[in-house]
């Protein structure tokens, strides 16, 4: 019987020092999948290795229990990376069957990520799956499992909002800018003072369409240095803020002790720029921009606390949405597991039916050969034989299906028993799929 098992480690359970020991480089992937095939008879496996997690998903059919299958994976990792079994047990998690499915769905939908709703992981899982397939790790069950995982990922994205709302200050600023301007194309951003945060925000704005960057600093050399990064215009300013006339977005992060941009001067500037919208972002502490500025028409001021509040509220929303997403994942995992069971039982049922029918047919032909019967009699005997076959198979099949649907763990043994008792030749690798 097939066991779907996984072993893995992530930022939730292990420090970076351990994760990097367990990581697989791209070259190692092919080699390790080959080793799984040759030394452990594991033909279906996918290895996911990112900076936050290393996970091996495998289908094992050479052993009877999931525990035995999991043990093989531990052995493999311990052997491959030369890590003691003790520390592997301490820093990794093992999942069996339904748990594995649910875990993969949680990973793909970013519910297990450091930032819930992040979009990178889906692509990473896709790449890992493609790479493993190219290296010969694909198979009927994992193909189904991963295809389903991607579709669950899609469903979560369309039915919940876990992936919406900026969760960093710099993205929050970009989202706000998009709420103000009809387009960011052709807009100008001015950076006052230097700092990582303001540069990062400017970078995001530029990648969202902002075309001009003005970098203003008290010392011209510094302005030049930052401006080079954005292909921008450096400006040395003293008290004259007239360069703001062209600025649609202002990011201020100087270490000035007093307000740099006050209400009246800015009102004049706004008049000179014909009251076109200006979005001011004050990430300096102490603040650079007089809060009264927000009373000017078409000037919108957000300081660091405001942006942090936006991020906090988005994070809260995501958390709430994550709960709904968890429910969807659990429900989908259960449904998929049930489908998979039936999918796995079907070949055995089919083989059993076929065997019974073949025996009945052979015996019928023999009977017809020996005795001379009228057409009517032949038909009656044939239909009686079919009825007997059907009735003989009725209870075993019904009970087997029940066991599968109830999630009864015994059904694996039933299948095994059927295959052995009736000497069924079941093609277990589902190569038709």
């Amino acid at each position: 019987m097939n066991q779907i098992v996984s072993i893995g480690t992530s930022h939730h359970v292990a420090p970076i020092e351990f994760r990097e020991k367990l990581a697989f480089s791209e070259a190692q992937l092919t080699e390790s999948l080959q080793q799984l095939r040759e030394s452990y008879q594991i033909h279906e496996a996918v290895i996911l290795s990112t900076c936050n997690r290393v996970e091996v998903y495998a289908v094992v059919n050479s052993v009877r229990t999931a525990d035995a299958a999991a043990k093989m994976l531990v052995e493999f990792l311990s052997h491959y990376h030369r890590i003691g079994v003790g520390s592997l047990k301490k820093w990794t998690y093992l999942h069996h069957n339904l748990e594995t499915i649910q875990h993969l769905f949680r990973v793909t939908t970013s519910l297990d990520s450091m930032v819930v709703g992040e979009s990178q992981i889906l692509g990473q899982v896709k790449t890992a799956y493609d790479t493993s397939r190219e290296a010969g790790g694909g198979g009927a069950i994992l193909n189904r499992l991963f295809t389903k995982a991607f579709s669950v990922g899609k469903r979560i994205r369309s039915e919940t909002t876990i992936a919406t709302g900026a969760v960093s200050i710099s993205y929050a600023a970009v989202e706000l800018a998009k709420k103000i301007f009809n387009t960011l194309e052709g807009k100008t951003v001015a950076i006052l003072g230097a700092g990582e945060m303001s540069e990062l925000t400017a970078k995001h704005l530029v990648s969202n369409g902002v075309s001009n960057v003005i970098v203003a600093n008290r010392t011209y050399e510094r302005a030049v240095k930052v401006a080079e990064k954005f292909n921008g215009t450096p400006i040395a300013y003293d008290s004259d803020l007239d360069f703001l006339i062209d600025a649609d977005i202002v990011i201020s992060s100087t270490d000035a002790p007093d307000y740099l941009i006050k209400r009246q001067p800015l009102a004049n500037i706004m008049r000179k720029r014909r009251h076109r919208y200006m979005f001011l972002i004050d990430i300096a502490v102490p603040r650079d921009i007089d809060p009264d500025v927000s009373k000017i028409d078409h000037a919108f001021l957000y300081n660091i606390d405001d942006l942090e509040a936006v991020v906090a509220s988005n994070l809260k929303d995501r958390q709430q949405e994550a709960n709904r997403a968890e429910q969807i994942v659990t429900e989908e995992a259960k449904r998929f597991y049930a489908q998979l069971q039936i999918f796995q039982v079907n070949p055995t049922i089919k083989a059993l039916h076929q065997q019974f029918r073949e025996i009945a047919d052979t015996e019928l032909q023999a009977c017809f050969y020996k005795a001379t019967l009228s057409d009517q009699q032949e038909a009656a005997v044939a239909s009686m034989t079919q009825a007997i076959v059907k009735k003989l198979l009725h209870h075993p099949m019904q009970n087997l299906r029940c066991a599968v649907n109830d999630g009864d763990a015994d059904h694996g043994q039933y299948i095994q028993a059927l295959q052995e008792l009736f000497a069924l030749d079941v093609n277990d690798d589902h190569s038709d799929v």
């Binding site: 369309s158 039915e159 919940t160 909002t161 919406t164 709302g165 900026a166 989202e175 706000l176 998009k178 709420k179 103000i180 301007f181 009809n182 387009t183 014909r274 009251h275 076109r276 919208y277 927000s294 028409d297 078409h298 919108f300 957000y302 405001d306 509040a309 936006v310 509220s313 988005n314 929303d317 709430q320 949405e321 709904r324």
Partner: protein, 280 residues
Amino acid sequence: MINFLFLVTLLIYLAASIFQTLSLAISNRSEAVIIRPTIERIAFWGTSIGFAFLSLFITLWWLTQGHFPMTHWTDSTAFFAWAITLIYLIIVRLTQLRTLGSFVMPVAFIAILISYSFATHTAALPEPLQNYWLLAHTSLIFLGYAAFIAAFGFGLMYLIAERKIRQKTDTLFDNLLPSLGVSDELGYRCTILGVILLTMGVIVGSLWTQYIRDVPWRWLDAKVISTLMTWFIYVVQIGLRQLWGWHGRRAAYAAILGFVAVLCTYVGVDLFLDSMHTYR
């Protein structure tokens, strides 16, 4: 039969208005992601079907009356609702911004409700007025009004969005309302369209007076003056924008002021002043 059709149209408009408003109202609940697309779809299809019914209805009226139906509150408000819906559907077609419906569809519904409540009344139109001048004059002016109502909708959308940005509220990122720049720009375009249509309607009207012999005409008609005042409000608004960059918030307020002026001209003059343009 016609009355039944009218009732159906009224109910469809009611449903469309409710769903349009609902799609905006539920926007800050988390389940909204699942329900909202359905509600929006119902609202939009309701609007489209309602529009088809109304078109059919006005055509039937036209055929039975033998001239463009523009004699009484009944038919003028029905046409007004038709014009509002038409302009809305064109805007959706061009911009994909369905949210505007939450603001203009209730206005269209009220217009139809008024129309329905007068449904038993019809007024005889003096023979000399029954011609294509009537069609051109009234339909241009009503389409102009409809464009102003779209501008009013964009004005409201602007003010709500601006309020949200200034208050830094949690629901800032639900993506139903367009950005300030978009609302402002589209509102302005609607205003220009409205002014063009209204101007054409007034010119057609004044030319028409040259051809009317049997109906007495006076220039100092209340409706004429009121219409010119409305026209003036919008023209001044455009001028201020071009000359001094009056846009955004001020333009939004001007659109609301203009909306009030349109209502005064259309409803107020009829109810309280004497005019040869009344629908009585």
